[in-house]
Every structure is written in structure tokens, then in C-alpha cells.
Symmetry: C2
């Protein structure tokens, strides 16, 4: 039995495109001698379809799409994913279903039993969980068909009360298939591989896992579809961050000794992953929304430098525009650094001073600000003048403004709402400042594109004379270490302090995080590259009192 | 047996405040001779606590709070709500629990079985659903204790596979208690009353329902806690939109004949409800975030006029500031109308021309806009100049800027991101334009505060000469009727066209809704007053292709 694993970049909502893509790949796999082709979870509608699933018209189109793929299954079988109506009188209206298609029709269906509803996932919003699980049959072989989270109960310390693979194993399947849409985080893949491997090993079946690839607004899918033998050894992985299809002979898989599971990356390995993921995310957001050109405000600082270089790699330099917006407190070196970068990278740029606008705003507000001390309000005028000018260019030419905020500043609210927080997509909003330096290193790997000075100088918002980030924030290596423990690891103040951090500082950072929730509520979508992104996936009440968490005395 | 129904305005996250409030009311109820006091769902942490529940420290504080309330229960019992750890080895870590407290301890617990996970609700994100249901006992009486959604399976056409009240009824309870946090929508209360009544009638038990009251950012809770007799007849309702406590003798409740259930309001009844809800929402957001003063940009149009009058009612005129920001295309009457309103209402206002700033921006961008036709980009400069000035005042004085966009324009994207979309809270974002007129009518009920001219003139953004909303949009009565069917009623294009609307127009409106999802992703929180608000509760993918829904030919 020859099995094709198809890892494709489906487009949410674009049922026609997704259907045609599956029909085309099914034909190709058949010509290459495959008996079965496996697509990823909810392949017909793309993932995550979110509230599109609440439309009956949309679900009908998905069902037509699945039937069209079924029609193309002549001399080959396919496993595809889509929503399917729950015909029972009770429960949610839909199932998240894996379809076994051959001889022109839907032969069997398997409904997902474990519905992830945490972090960025909200599947129980739409789907009824299956409670009965049976293998499906193909060519005399029994397949334990599962959908993504179904195989994860062993990886999550028993988050669910049922364990579909354990139930399916009682029917002695010959192989297991997992169709998934498992999103990228820089440190997630080793865990994913471990869980899949453990399922193969525990139930003594070869396992074929087809994962989604591509960017869907904030959620990035890295692909890396994988095959394991019945001992749980990794046989092969498909590419990361790009479409791929490979065909495997079942017997060969079972006889293959296996290769080591991937380790958690660090250093350059981590930064390369981040870079590849972000480039894919930018590229796909533009392609899927039909927008051609990106606009980046270049300050001479490292965040905007890295953002524009990622955009240039994703879209081509010809589809990227830079705007240099020097203001009253911009240093000469900043303008030079920004220009140097644009020239080296071959990116078209305009220099547009905000001085005149800031002067007008200052003059206009002067009678209303009199007898007050200059402060945040005056600083923010500059950031917002830049926002207005950038959005003016965006509106005039249809450019999509990329937001350049990093995760460290977004987390503590060191940013101006409607100023540097403007943009249609946040590229670095899930990347800590210390990792932004890592990205710069990767970008400069072969030649110095981002000026050394941009990398070496102390970070500054340049909104008042001599300002440095370190006036307001702890050093970024300390800040990022605290934030990582507080956000990703969900440790409390006591626990973080117990690791040797200053208790007062830890509490101050936590307070800054809580007190800037209101800003992040209005953030652009953030490309998610960690296990805890501050965009979708964090749902904090705004009007809450956080004392119970802050009063946690170290 | 004397039962106190306590309808309180809990504060999310403020465990100490909520606990003290319950202790205090328990004492008061005891002094008034009550044997039992009933608080609302998750009373110890406030509703919705959202991701605060992911903090172990927070859950510990909640449990301490519940124990403190228990300690105060001497000579009286209490039913309170809070999170409680799931001690099983599998499932989500928490239950959404109702506690029966007396003689100083937690006597019995009831875990919620039906977890709403749709629209604004995401309870399955945090809680494990209970699967076993038993009555609790107090003074020889059996109580069918339920938490909010538990009684709703009959109202939702079988959304869930279990029906806790049916299971509990097999133990022949003497009464039913429902503790709830059921949010307001202008047309929701009759349905809520009907469902509660039906539970009492079907299971032949008197029913006491304690609902939350107060605003929690976007979610508004109207209270209206209710008592039904064993025939399902309504015995009494607590106040709407304010705290209340009443004590009932069980025997009297059972003997009471009942009063009619409320009808769906319309006309002035509807507008009065909207007004009361929005005033409460503004008041509570300010109170709970500790912000004192609201700022509103007054244009002379009806949206900002209604917004500022609602704020004045919520906060007192002395805590409201108006900024009049005339621009190059503002008409004389607009400035006069805005001034007239501020003077009549006694609201302190400043007039700040945006002309100088717009001139600077225009001059600054001129070399970059040359050989282009003036259009949206130029219009948006004006809206954004206003945004910058308003946010300047907000930053300088700690005012919270109220957003004045209405639901009609927010739905079709007839608004400027970072311009008139600025603000910390959207007051009218869930109110259709036609209802904004209704609100104006209520505000002017006793005397003309909002100038007649503001109400009578054709709506205009005044961003170019002679501009009217009707240049771009269909008349608001038609637009709102289509939007209501498309959003609230979730009807598709064919169905709406079938009701007599122009098919091309319906599709154009649907397209505008889909193509402005990206703007609404960055909207401020919107006070929710309908069953489908465009803020929390609508989760649409941004990069999606919507053709499957738009291609639905009439």
C-alpha cells in the first residue's frame, strides 16, 4: 500500500481553491502510484475557519467541495477534512470530520473527539465532540483515523476524559492516520513529534500525520508532516514552511529503523525558525488578502530594520516601501542608519519629516496644555504624527502598513496607541527584543545589510532628548527573562522571584503587563511564533482588578 | 423558609471586594430574618473572569474568598459561585461551581454541567462540565441547584446532550435555584424569563434565579433576578441595572398567583432599555478602572451628541469634557449645534481647530501625493488629526476618550482607523443608527438638549465639501434592516433578498461587512446591547476568502 502525505497551503474560506487543489494533488498522487492520499484537518475550508462555520451556506459549500474531491477519487482513496452536520437532535450543529473518500463517494467518516478550546483554539465554539470511535477500512486494512488533538491526550496530562487512540486500538488497526492543523511555535515541534511518536509506539502502529502549512493571519502553520513506524521511530518529515507531498510504501515504513526526533532549537537554530515562520506569515497574509505592497516606517532602530528585511524576503524588495520619518528628537545617526539600510537592501524610500506636523499639533494644543509639564502627551504626538503620515501613504497607494512593535514593549505597554501601534499586521509582536537581535544576526549572516550601528546602539524611542528605553524599562535581557516566565511559562510572582529575580522588579513588570491590556485590545493581528502570543490566545478582562495576582508576595 | 435574592455588581478580579460584599449582605439578610441568601454565578471572582482563571494564585484567592463567606454563614445559609479545582486525573482543571455554605463551612457543591461556548461565551476554555447532578439539602428541603446555562437546554433546541434540571427532578426537589450571569441584550430578557418559567412549570418547583448586575467592560448585566412559583408563573423581579436584594417567604411564593412575563420591548421601551444599559456600562467601566473623566469629540452630529449625553448621565456633567474640532469642511451649523449642546448640558468644552494640523499634513504629504486624485487618503487625514488631538488631551489629563461610532457604520467600515475609531470604549458601537435617533428622542424627552438641527439634518462625516453618508451608503433605515437580518438573525443573502430587499444591495452590504473585518479587529471594546455585537462575540478570519458566502446568488 502506497500512501501520499500532502502538506498544502489551504486558504481559509476559499472552498473552490482548496477543493481544486485537493483534486489536482489526488490526480498527481494517483499518477505516481499512490493508493491513498492524506490531506490536513479541515482541508476543504482552511484552518481556522472561525465564524464562517456559523453560516449554513458556507457549510453547504464545504460539503459540495468534499463531494467533488470524492468524485475525483477513482483508483485512489483520499482522506480529507471538513465540517459535517451533526444529525442528532442534541449537541452543536457540526462535527470536525475526517472523510475517507474512494470510488467517487464518501465511504466513511470519523468525527473529532477532542476539541481544543484553550489559547488560540476555540473548537468547542463550533463542534460537537464525537463520543464513539471506530476504525475505517481501506483495501482490507483497518485505519485508526484521528483528527489532530485526538492523539494529544497523552501529551496534555489528561486534559480530556476520553482517549480516542486507546479506544481505536481495541480494533487492532494496521496503521494510524492523524490529520492536523497544529500551529507553529518556535519550541512546539519537538513536543508534537514526541506525542505522535508515543502514539505509534504505544499502539504499535505506523503513523502518518499530515499537517497544514502556511500563514492564516496570525496563526502560522509550519507543516513538518511526519511518518513514524510501529516502534515510534521517526521515518521521515516533510518540509517546514512550504508545500510538500511525498509517497511512502507502508511495508518500507514498517521496516525502516528511524531517525532521531528533533531537539528544541536554540541560538541560530531558533532564530532561523523564527525568520522562516515570519517570512511565510508576511507572504501569505499579503497573498491571501490580495495586497501587493508593504509599507514600513524606518526609524534607524532594530525593530523596523528587521521588519522591513523580513518583508523584503517575503514579498521581494520591489514590493516593499520604506518611509523615514525623522522628528525633532531623531538623532542624525538614526536617519543615516535607516537610509543606509534602505539603500543596501535596494528598497525604495521616502524621507518625510514630521517636524512641521508636530509643530502644528504643539501649537494647536498649546493653549490647552498650558501650565502643564511636558511628558507622555507631547511624546505621543510625535509617534501619532508618524502614524497619520504612514496611514496616509497606506490609504493613498493601497500599501499595507506593517507594525514594528516587538513583544517586550507590547507586553509592558511601552508603545503609543494609534502611533507606533498602527499597522495591518504585527510582524514582531510575538518576538522578544533579545530575539529581534537574533533575527538581525541571521539577516546579516552573509553580509552586513542592517547597519552595525543599528544593532549596537542602545534602544531608544527618540521622543525626547537623550531618551533611552532603559530610562523606563529594565535591561531587555532581564525584562525578557521575566516576561518569558510570566507569560509563556505562566509562573507567578513568587515562583519567578524564587529563581533569583528581584521581587520588586518582577511585580513591576507584572503590573505593567496587566495595566496595558487595554492597549493590546486594539493591537493589529500578531504573527504567532511562541506558545503564548499576546494577540489571539490571551483573553484578559480589561476592567479587572489584578490585585489578587499582584499581591502574591515573594 | 425565607430566601434572600441578592443581585450585586461584582468586580472582575476583585476577590476581596466581592467577598466583603457577600459577607456584608449575608449579615444584612440574616438580620432581616432570611434563612438563605443567593448570590449570582462566579460571584467571588466576578464575571467573566476570562484568563485570570489560568492563574493558580487567583483560583486560590477565590477559594479563600468562598471560605470567608462560609465563615460568615452563622444562622443563615448562602449560595455563592466560584471556580473550584477539578480533582479528577482528567479534564479541565476547574469547575464553575455553586457552593452551599452554612455553619461556617462549604457544605455541598454543585458543578455546572452546560458550559456556554458561543458568541461572547467561552466557558469550555476554562471549565470541565459536570456529568453527575444531585440536589443539595438545606433544613430538610431538597434544592435543585443549577448554574445559569444548566437550565437553558430547553431554550436552545437541545444544544447540549445532557439536561441537568431533568436529572435533578428525579430526586423530587422542593425548589430550584439558578445562579446566573446572563448578559443584557435589548431583546433577551423575555426569552430568559420564558426559559426560567418553563423550568419551574415543567419540574413543578418554585424557582429562584439570582442574576449578576453591572457592566464588565463590553458585557452588560441587567440583573432582573426573578422568582417563579411551581406553576411557572412570575412572582417577582428585582430591579434592572442596579443592585437589589429582596426576601421571599417560600410558602408565600408558592401561593402567589403570578404576574405576566415581559414582552419584547419596542419603540420607546426599547430605547429606554438601551439608554439605561449604556449609562450603566459607561459608569461601571469608569468606576472599575478608576478613571474619573470622559472626553468626547463633539462634531455637531447625532452620534457624538448622544454619546456625550449618556456619559453625562453616567458620570455627571462635571466629569465630562467636550472637544469641538472643526475642520476645513465642517459646516457652520455643525459648530453651532455642538456648542449649543455643550452649553445646554453644562459640559465644559474647548474648541480646537484642526485646520493648521491638516494643512501641515497636507503640505508634508504633497510631494508624495502628487499626480494623484484627492480621495479617502485626504479625507482620513482630517479624521486622524482629530484622533491625535483628542488622544493628546486624553494623555495629558487622564481623560478616557469615548468612541462615538455607531453599529451601522462600524458594520460596513464607514469609519477611519486611528481617526474616529479612536477611543477607550465604544458607547454606540452596538447601536444601529436608526436607534441612535431613538436614544436622542429619549434624551430630549423632557426638554430639547440635543439641538433639533442635529437630529434633523442628513448625516455627514464632513470630510469633503457637501459630503453626505447617503453618497456612499444606502439610507440608514434600509441599511439597518439588512444588517439586522445579516448579523443578528444570521440570514444569508438569498433569505434577505427573499424578504423584498434588492439583491445587489444586500450583496454589497454583505461585502462591505466582510471587507471591513480588519478595521473592527482594532476597535475599542463595544458596550454590547444586542444578541450579536461586532466586538467580542464575532470571530471572523481576516485573510479569508468570502466568495462562498457572497456567491450565494439571490
Amino acid at each position: 500500500m502506497r500512501i501520499a502525505l500532502a502538506q498544502l497551503n489551504f486558504h481559509v474560506g476559499n472552498v473552490e481553491y482548496n477543493t481544486n487543489l485537493m483534486v489536482s494533488l489526488t490526480g498527481e498522487a494517483r499518477r505516481k502510484g499512490a493508493d491513498l492520499i492524506i490531506f490536513s484537518e479541515l482541508s476543504v475550508c482552511g484552518y481556522p475557519p472561525r465564524d464562517l462555520l456559523l453560516s449554513g451556506v458556507f457549510v453547504d459549500r464545504c460539503m459540495e467541495g468534499i463531494n467533488k474531491v470524492a468524485c475525483s477519487c477513482q483508483g485512489i482513496a483520499a482522506i480529507a477534512g471538513g465540517p459535517w452536520p451533526n444529525k442528532n437532535t442534541s449537541g452543536k450543529q457540526l462535527y470536525n470530520t475526517a472523510f475517507l473518500l474512494y470510488e467517487g463517494t464518501i465511504q466513511q467518516m470519523f468525527h473529532k473527539g477532542l476539541l481544543p478550546t484553550y489559547d488560540v483554539f476555540n473548537e468547542y465554539r463550533y463542534f460537537e465532540p464525537a463520543t464513539e470511535f471506530h476504525t475505517v477500512s481501506l483495501g482490507g486494512r483497518k485505519i485508526a483515523l484521528t483528527v489532530c488533538e485526538d492523539v494529544w491526550n497523552i501529551g496534555k496530562g489528561g486534559l480530556y476524559r476520553t482517549d480516542p487512540p486507546a479506544i481505536l486500538s481495541s480494533e487492532s488497526p494496521d496503521m494510524m492516520v492523524n490529520i492536523s492543523a497544529s500551529p507553529f511555535a518556535w519550541d512546539h515541534r519537538p513536543e508534537r513529534m514526541r506525542v505522535l511518536s508515543e502514539n505509534a509506539r504505544r499502539y504499535k502502529v505506523p503513523l502518518f500525520s499530515a499537517n497544514l502549512v502556511g500563514g492564516q493571519t496570525d496563526l502560522l502553520f509550519d507543516g513538518g508532516s511526519a511518518v513514524f513506524n510501529q516502534k515510534g521511530a521517526l521515518v521521515d518529515c516533510l518540509s517546514l514552511f512550504e508545500e510538500d507531498m511525498r509517497i511512502y510504501e507502508l511495508q518500507t515504513v514498517m521496516e525502516f529503523a528511524g531517525t532521531p526526533l528533533p531537539d528544541t532549537p536554540s541560538g541560530e537554530g531558533k532564530w532561523q525558525l523564527l525568520k522562516d515562520a515570519l517570512v511565510m506569515g508576511i507572504r501569505d497574509y499579503f497573498r491571501k488578502t490580495g495586497i501587493r505592497t508593504a509599507l514600513v516606517g524606518l526609524s534607524g532602530g532594530i525593530d523596523s530594520a528587521v521588519t522591513i528585511m523580513l518583508a523584503a524576503e517575503a514579498l521581494g524588495t520591489e514590493n516593499v516601501r520604506a518611509a523615514l520619518l525623522p522628528g525633532p528628537h531623531s538623532s542624525t545617526h538614526s536617519v543615516i542608519d535607516a537610509e543606509t539600510l534602505a539603500i543596501r537592501a535596494g528598497i525604495q524610500y521616502d524621507t518625510i519629516s514630521i517636524n512641521d506636523t508636530v509643530r502644528s499639533l504643539t501649537k494647536t494644543l498649546e493653549p490647552h496644555f498650558k501650565n502643564t509639564k511636558p511628558g507622555i502627551a507631547e511624546e505621543n504626538l510625535q509617534a501619532r504624527a508618524r502614524g497619520v503620515i504612514l496611514m496616509g501613504l497606506s490609504n493613498k497607494y493601497g500599501y499595507l502598513l506593517l507594525n514594528t512593535s516587538n513583544k517586550s514593549e507590547a507586553a509592558v505597554g511601552y508603545s503609543t496607541l494609534y502611533g507606533d501601534m498602527c499597522g495591518g499586521l504585527s510582524v514582531l509582536g510575538d518576538v522578544y527584543k533579545t530575539d529581534v537581535y537574533g533575527l538581525a544576526k541571521m539577516i546579516n549572516k552573509n553580509e552586513e545589510i542592517i547597519p552595525e550601528n543599528t544593532i549596537m546602539k542602545p534602544p531608544s524611542a527618540e521622543l525626547k532628548p537623550g531618551q533611552r528605553d532603559s530610562d523606563t524599562l529594565p535591561p531587555y535581557d532581564v525584562l525578557d527573562a521575566i516576561l518569558y516566565r510570566f507569560l509563556e511559562q505562566q509562573k507567578n510572582i513568587t515562583a519567578i522571584t524564587g529563581e533569583g529575580f528581584d521581587g520588586g522588579l518582577v511585580r513591576r513588570v507584572a503590573r505593567m503587563v496587566f495595566h496595558s491590556e487595554y492597549k493590546r485590545r486594539q493591537t493589529p493581528p500578531i504573527l504567532r511564533v511562541s506558545m503564548k502570543c499576546l494577540g489571539t490566545g490571551r483573553e484578559m478582562p480589561l476592567e479587572a482588578c489584578y490585585d489578587a495576582l499582584l499581591g502574591d508576595k515573594p
